[in-house]
Symmetry: C5
Subunit: 297 residues, 5 copies
C-alpha cells in the first residue's frame, strides 16, 4: 500500500518508459513525415483526437472503477479476516470449558500460521519452513504434500476443534457456531484466491492502448503547424497521463503481486498476530511493522 | 478466461469482420456520392459526429459496466461454489460420527459430479455418460429423466445425508447446519442459471449499432475534403474500436458460451476436484489443468 | 423478456411515434421561421446544442443505469424464488418424518399456486379461478376476501407446517429452519411489490424530454443553412435515438407491465412447476413454455 | 412519492424561482455591460462555458446517483419493514402455543403503532396522542419521557414476548428466532434515522451552484453578439434545467421532509395495517389510502 | 459532519490557498512569457485544455464516487453500531434471567465506554483517563497495556457474559445469539479501522494535480490574447473549482481526521448513551449534543 509520503519520481516513471519512447518516436516520425510530404498528408481536424479522447476516457473510467473495486474488495476480505480472527478467539474463550487455555493457544498459533501462509501463497513466496514459528514439525510435514497449504492448516484446526467436541469440552450448539466462523475463513480464503486467479479481461487493455496510440498519431498530425520543441513535450505529457492512469489501474487489479501497490498483507498479518497474542495473554508480542520507505507491504 | 499471453490478431478481428465491411462500403459510397453530387450534399459540421460519439460513449459505458458485472458475478458465484465445497467436506468431517469415511467419500464424489454436471449443462454440453467417474450407474439412470440433472444430483446428496440422520450418525443441530451449505449450493446453481437464461436487453445493442453507423456516415460526410486514402482507414480504425468494445462486452454478458472469454469453469471444477480429494485423503488426485493457448476454459 | 431474435421494426417505432411527429413539426416550423425571419433570428452557435447533448447524456446515463438495476433486481428476486422453492422441497423431504409424502405434495402444489398468483397479481391479471389447479376450493374461497392473495396462500402453507409441528412430524429445530425459508418467500414477495409500486421519480423524465426538445430546437436553428431535405431526416434520426433510449429505460423501470420487456415470469413459474414436480416424483409434468415470437412472457 | 399523473407546472417552478431571478439579473447585467464597455470586455471563447458545462455534468451526475441511492435505500428499508412485519405475524402464529390469539393481537396492534410512530417521528410530526388507536393509555404514558419513542414501543413488544417466554408459551429456540425479527426492526429503524440525520456533504452543492453561475456568466459574455430577446430566454431555459435537476436531487437526498417527493410512508403504514389485520382476522380493516393529487404521502 | 448552516468562506478557501497561489504565479508567468517571446511560443488550440478538462473530470468523478462511498460506509458502520447497541440491550433484557439488572447496567456502561473509546482511538485522541465514567479503575488498568484498547473492552464484556453463562443465568442457545451481536461489534470495529488505515491510492491524486496544472498552463497559453485582468481571475475561479472538489473528496476519504467533514462520532456516541440509558431506566441521562457552529463532531 502506498503511503502518504513523497513517492519518488522514478517509481512513477519506470512503468511507462517503453510507452513514452513509442510516443516520442511517433511524435518525431509524424513531424518528419508531415514536413516532407506536406501536400500528401491532408489536414486533420482537431475534433478527431478530441473525440478519441472521449472514447479513451470512457474505457479508462470503466477500468479505474473496476480495478479499484478489486483492490478494495481484496482489502475488505483481509479486513474481515482480521475481524473474524479476533471473534474466533473471543468465541473460543467463551465457549470452551475452563482449563482449555493450552488448546486455545495452539489453535491461535495455528491460525496466525494460516494467515501468514495465505499471505505467502498469494504473493507466490510459499515456504513451509517459515511456518515453524506457528506449527509443530509434525503438522508441517503433514501439510507438505497438499497443493493448497492454507486449506490444509484450516483442516488441522477444524480437526482439533472436532476432537475437543468429542471430549465434550464444548457444547454442540456452540460448536456449530464456531464452525460458522471457520467457514467464513474458508470463504475469505477462496475470495482472495478468486481475485488472484481471475485475469481482468485483457482485451480492454489492448483497445485502450490502441486508442491512446491512435490519439497520439491523430493529435500529432493535427498539431503539425506547431513548433516541434513545443508539440513533442505536449504529446509526451498528455499521453503520459493516460498511460500512468492505465498502469496504476492495472496494478490495482491484482493486489497480490509483491508490488508497492499491494494490499499491505504483511502489516495485516502482523496486526492479527499482535491482537490474538494479547487476547490470549501471550508473552512474546511482536512489535508493529514500521515502514521507512513510501510504501508498506 | 483470456490469459495474459499474446492474443492472436485473427481472434480479435474475426468477430467484427462483417461490421468492418459495412463501414468500408459506407466509406466508399459516401466518398463517391459526395464527389459526384457535390452541390447537392450540404456540408456536415464536425460537431454532429462528435456529438454522436458522446451518445455512443454513454451507451457503451453503460454496457461495459453491466456486462462486466454479469461476468464478475458469474465468477463470484463459481468462487463461492469452490468455498462452499471445501466447507462442505470440512463440515462433514467434523459433524459425522467416526467411521463415516466411506459415506463422506461417496458424497464428495457425487458433489464433484454435481460441479462438473453444472459446468456441462451451462455450456450446453450435457452428457450423462461423463458422470460415470463420480456417480454409480444406478444413480445415473435415476437422474436421466430429470430436466434439471444437477438438481437431481443435489437431491441424491440431500437424501444420503437424510438417511445418515435417520441412522443417527449426525446430530440434528449439525444436520441443519450442513443443510444450510446444501441450500447455498442450490442458490449458486440457480444464480448461474439466471445469468445464463436472462438475455441482456437487446434493444440497447440495436441502438448502439444504429448510432455507430450514423456516426460513420456523418463523419465520412464531414471529412469529404480529406483524401480517401487517408479518410477510409481512419473511419475503419475508429469504428473498429467501437465495434470491438461492443463485441467484447457482448461476450462477457453471457460467460457460459463455450468461448475463450467464458468463466474458466473447467479449471474451477478441476481445482474443486483436487481440493476435495486431498481433504478426504483420496489417492487418485488429478493434475492441474494447463493451458497451451491464450485462454483457459 | 426480449429474445435474441429479430425484433420487428414496428415494435420499436410504435412507442415513439408521437415524439417523432413533434420533432417533425419543430423541424419544419424552425425551417420556415428561419427562412422568413432570417434577419430577426440570430445565428445559434453549434456549441449550444452540443452542450445540451452532454446534459442529455448525463441524465440518460443515470436513467439507463437505475432502470437496468430495477429490472435486474426484479430478475434476481424471481431467481431467488426459484432457488428457495427448490430448497424448500429438499428441506421438507429431509426434515419431515417418513410417510409425509402427501403433505409435501399438498404444500408443493400450494407453493406453485403462490408463485403463479404472485405473477398474476404483479401483472394486474389477478384471477382466483386459475388457482384451482393448485389449491382446493375451500382454500380458494378462504383467501377470496384477502386484499393480498399471495400473502394469504403463504399463510396457508405456514399453518399447514405449524400443524405438522404440532403432530410432531418435524423437529422444532428443523421447523425453525424451514420457517426461515418461508420468511425468505415473504421477503421476495415484498421486494417485487416494492419494485411494482415505487414510481421512478417522474421529474427526471420531464427534464429529459424538455432538454431533448430544447436540443432539437437549437440544433435545427444552428443547421438552418443546410438544405431541409437533409436536415429534417438528421434531426429525426438523432432525436429518435434519444427517445428510444429513454423509452426502453422507462419500460425496464417497471418489469411487471405485461409488456414484451417484462421479466419472463410465466417461463419462471413454469420452470418452478417442472422442477418441484420432478423433485416430488409427480406424474403430471408440464412441458417447458416455448416462444414463437421475439419475446417470452 | 410523485405519481405518474400530470405534475402542475407551478410545483416544478416554485423551487427555483430565486435562482431564475439571479440568472435574469446576470443576463441583463452582462448584456448591459458588454454593450457599454465593448472595448474593455474581451471576447470569451465558447469553449469556456462548454467546458464548465462538462464540469457541472460531472458533479451533477455524481449527485443524481448518490441522492437516488439514498431515496431508494429509504424505500428499500421501508419495504423490508413491510416484509418483516408480515413475517413477524406469521412467526407468532406458528411459534406461539394455541390460545395466544389475544397476545398476538396486542403485539400486532403495538407493532402497527410502532410503524406509524416511526413515520411521524421521521417527518417531525411526532404526537403521542395519535398512538391511542394502537397502544393502551398506560403504555403511552410509559413511553412519554423517552427521547426515542419508537424504540420504547419496540421495547414494550420485546418485554411482552419475554413474558410469554417466561410463561413457557413459546419454545426457547423459536423465541430466539422471533428475537431475530425484532432485531431487524431495530436495524431498519436505525437505518432510516441514519438517512434522516446524515446531511449530504453540503460543499458539493455550493460548488455546483458556483459553477452554474460561472457558466451562466461566461455563456452570456460569449453570446453577447446575439440579440438579447433571444439570448436571455436561452440562458434562462438552460440554467433552469440545471437548477431543476439539482433541486430534485436535493429533495431525494432526504426522503422524510414532508414533501411530495417523500417516501410514501403513510401509504406503506396503511398497507402494513391492512395486511397485519387481515392476517390476524381482525374486523376493523381500514380502506387503502387514495390520492386525488399528483403525489401520495 | 457539515450542517446545512452557512459555511464560512475562509473555511472553504483555506484548504486551497497554496494551490491558488501556484495558479496565480503560472497565470502571470505565462502572460509575461507569451508577451515577451510572442514569436517563439506557438498558438495553443483551445481544444487541448478542453480535452484535458475531460480527462480531469473522469478522474475527478471516479474520486468523488469512491471517496463518498468510504464516507458513507463509515457512516453506515456507525449506524449499525447504534442499531446493534440497542438490540444488544433488548437481547440482554429478554434473555437474562430476572434479577440481572445490575449485570445489564454494568455491561451497558462498559459498552458505552467501548463506543467512546473507539471514537477516540479513530481520531487519535486515545486517553484511558476519560473511560473512568464507564469502567471501573481495575478494568482500566487491565486494558492499559493492550495495543487495541477497544478490543480489550469488548473482551471484558465477552468474559462477563461468559461468567453469567457459567452461573446459568442465561440459556446456552440465547447465549450464542448474544455472542452473534458481540461478533458484529467486532466486525464494525474492524471495518472502521480498515477505513482509517487504508490510504486511498495516492497516485491518482498526483495525476489529478498534474493534469489540473497542465490544464491551467495550456489554458493560459490559449487565452493569451485576452486581457490579463480578465484572464487571471478566470483561471483562478475555474482551477479553484477543481481544487476544491479534489480537496473535499480527499477529506471525505478519511472521515476520522478530527475535521469538520468527519463522521459525527461524538453525536453518535451521545445518541447511543442516551438510548441505552433510557432502555435500562438509568437516572443520569445526558442531554443531546448541540452545535453552535457550521458542523457537528
Amino acid at each position: 500500500m502506498l503511503l502518504k509520503k513523497n513517492i519518488p519520481l522514478h517509481y512513477i516513471i519506470k512503468d511507462i518508459k517503453a510507452e513514452l519512447c513509442y510516443v516520442l518516436i511517433i511524435g518525431f516520425a509524424v513531424y518528419y513525415i508531415t514536413s516532407v510530404f506536406r501536400n500528401v498528408i491532408p489536414e486533420m481536424p482537431l475534433v478527431i483526437p478530441a473525440f478519441l479522447g472521449t472514447a479513451i476516457s470512457v474505457i479508462l473510467s470503466f477500468k479505474l472503477n473496476q480495478s479499484y473495486d478489486r483492490w478494495w474488495e481484496a482489502r475488505k476480505v483481509w479486513g474481515s479476516i482480521v475481524n473474524d480472527s479476533r471473534s474466533f478467539i473471543l468465541q473460543l474463550q467463551s465457549f470452551l470449558s475452563k482449563g482449555s487455555e493450552d488448546d486455545i493457544k495452539k489453535i491461535a498459533y495455528r491460525h496466525i500460521g494460516w494467515c501468514n501462509c495465505l499471505n505467502w501463497v498469494l504473493r507466490g513466496k510459499d515456504n513451509e519452513a517459515l511456518l515453524i514459528a506457528y506449527l509443530t514439525e509434525g503438522e508441517i510435514s503433514n501439510i507438505k504434500h497438499h497443493t493448497n497449504k492454507h486449506l490444509a492448516i484450516l483442516q488441522l484446526n477444524t480437526m482439533h476443534l472436532s476432537s475437543l467436541r468429542e471430549e465434550d469440552k464444548i457444547n454442540v450448539y456452540a460448536y456449530v457456531q464456531i464452525n460458522n466462523t471457520i467457514m467464513s475463513f474458508s470463504n475469505s480464503m477462496g475470495m482472495l484466491e478468486r481475485i488472484k486467479s481471475t485475469v481482468f479481461p485483457v482485451t480492454y487493455r489492448y483497445f485502450l492502448h490502441l486508442t491512446i496510440y491512435l490519439f497520439v498519431i491523430t493529435l500529432s498530425i493535427s498539431l503539425r503547424d506547431i513548433e516541434s520543441y513545443f508539440e513533442i513535450p505536449l504529446l509526451l505529457v498528455i499521453s503520459a497521463a493516460f498511460f500512468l492512469l492505465e498502469k496504476t489501474a492495472s496494478h490495482m487489479e491484482n493486489p497480490f503481486n509483491d508490488l508497492p501497490t499491494d494490499t499491505a498483507m504483511n502489516a495485516i498479518c502482523n496486526t492479527i498476530e499482535i491482537n490474538l497474542k494479547q487476547l490470549i495473554h501471550d508473552e512474546h508480542i511482536p512489535g508493529p511493522i514500521q515502514s521507512d520507505t513510501f510504501y508498506i507491504m
